[in-house]
């Protein structure tokens, strides 16, 4: 009758985060970005490899959370911009508080669910009497079909046969990110081999939107994971050097599907 936590199958991004933070007893900033991204990609692989359909909402939510974390962390890793954008800074704190609030809320209900399950287990040890009145009384009961119309019956049939609703796919707000990470991977794969060693700072120069920086970071992580790029940071807050490590033909011969980022896979 005990409640079993299903690890490492994650129900969603909060599950993953809670798992990383609580089970590993790590603080968020000690979770390496690659761990998060690896877990994210592993989750997508699991979904792709299983009977379960890849839920785009889950996938995008993972991406959103990962991006927020990466952004929070990147803030600490990247050199502070010369002129601190106060709005950006405040926005970041807001996001952080929002994330904290959601994590705490999620944890609260997770724990409540364990208790409810235990209560159900205890209550389930008793079976109720549901025999109802003896047959001789049943004739007395009022007409059970009073007021039931043929249309109500039809509605009841449709209700009984209603298929599980197909998860709504709302990607409008994340469509840009999804396309951009793929695009960034492609773009970097084209430009990096001919560029020689460079730095993350240089690669993101001229990018004004935070989102674009994060996306480029994600793209680099993906390339790094695939062994196509070497990332190196000599010192804390130092520049991250980026170097293409694969021979030019390796990418060309590579499997495009592997290169594209998880969300785009189906």
């Amino acid at each position: 009758m005990t409640y079993e936590v299903q690890t490492p199958v994650f129900e969603g991004p909060f599950d993953l985060l809670l798992h990383l933070i609580l089970r590993e007893e790590l603080d968020l900033y000690e979770v390496s970005l690659s761990t998060i991204v690896d877990a994210y990609l592993a989750e997508l692989d699991r979904l792709a490899g299983s009977e379960a359909r890849l839920d785009l909402e889950v996938a995008t939510e993972f991406l959103l959370i990962a991006a927020t974390l990466i952004e929070l962390k990147a803030r600490r890793l990247l050199p502070a911009p010369e002129a601190l954008d106060l709005d950006d800074e405040l926005g970041l704190w807001e996001e952080r508080d929002l994330l904290l609030g959601r994590l705490l809320e999620c944890k609260t209900f997770k724990d409540a669910a364990v208790t409810l399950s235990a209560m159900e287990g205890v209550a389930g040890r008793s079976q109720p009497r549901r025999a109802g009145p003896e047959e001789r009384f049943l004739a007395l009961a009022p007409d059970l079909l009073a007021g039931v119309t043929p249309e109500a019956l039809r509605a009841a049939f449709l209700r009984a046969c209603t298929p599980r609703p197909v998860p709504r796919v709302e990607i409008a707000h994340l469509g840009a990110v999804r396309a951009s990470v793929n695009d960034a991977v492609e773009e970097l794969s084209r430009t990096l081999p001919g560029l020689g060693p460079t730095t993350f700072r240089r690669l993101t120069i001229g990018l004004s939107a935070r989102l674009e920086v994060v996306v480029r970071f994600l793209a680099l992580l993906e390339l790094c994971k695939l062994g196509l790029v070497d990332l190196h940071q000599a010192q804390r807050f130092g520049d991250i050097t980026v170097a293409w490590s694969a021979s030019p033909d390796r990418f060309a011969a590579g499997d495009d599907a592997r290169i594209s980022v998880g969300v785009g896979r189906r």
Partner: protein
């Protein structure tokens, strides 16, 4: 009470009997009770008789009776007046949503087996089907020719009358309703008799 019995085993048997008979919806065969309690049918019979006598002595509002080949709890006939009032006033005068859905499936998919209905509803429907049968809305109309020879159910003339329909052809058409794969599978799966959670 336990003092009346020679040992802990007898008390346990008596208590288990009371528990089983309390949750049973139909009279329970002493053979089955004996099997469940890992004792002899004779022990079950004597224990039930003893229990029944005890309830009479204690002037309980319920009685334990031997009926239709088994033992069951029922209300003391002397208190019928209360039960009648309860049935008339107390019960909700409508079919539950679950019962209506079950009836609808039988109406539109007849002849259909209990397990097929259960598979579509995703819950055990034995209790609900029994109510529908007792009320005369559905009845057994055939037997499945397959290996299990499951009873197949359909709606009755009473059902048509209650809904003001001349015939089943007058049921509102389902229109462009196409059962999804899961429902179709449920109908098929139902024939294999997969155990399901009970409808509560």
């Amino acid at each position: 009470m336990s003092a009346e019995h020679p040992g802990a085993g007898a008390t346990e048997t008596r208590r288990a009997l009371e528990a089983l008979l309390m949750v049973a919806e139909d009279p329970v065969d002493p053979q089955l009770l004996a099997q469940l309690l890992e004792t002899s049918p004779a022990t079950v019979e004597s224990c039930c008789e003893e229990l029944a006598a005890g309830y009479r002595t204690e002037e309980r509002g319920f009685v334990l009776v031997r009926v239709a080949g088994g033992w069951r709890f029922q209300s003391d006939p002397e208190l019928s007046a209360y039960v009648e009032r309860f049935v008339l006033e107390g019960q909700t005068a409508r079919l539950s949503a679950a019962a209506l859905e079950t009836l609808a499936i039988v109406a539109y998919r007849q002849p259909v087996s209990r397990s097929q209905v259960a598979a579509v509803r995703g819950v055990n429907v034995d209790g609900v089907m029994r109510t529908l049968q007792v009320r005369g809305y559905v009845e057994e109309v055939a037997r499945d020719p397959g290996p299990g020879q499951a009873a197949l159910f359909g709606t009755t003339t009473t059902f048509l009358e209650k809904l003001g329909l001349d015939s089943l052809a007058d049921l509102p058409p389902l229109g462009d309703f196409v059962p999804d794969a899961a429902t179709v599978e449920a109908f098929e799966q139902g024939l294999r008799g997969t155990p399901l959670p009970v409808d509560r």
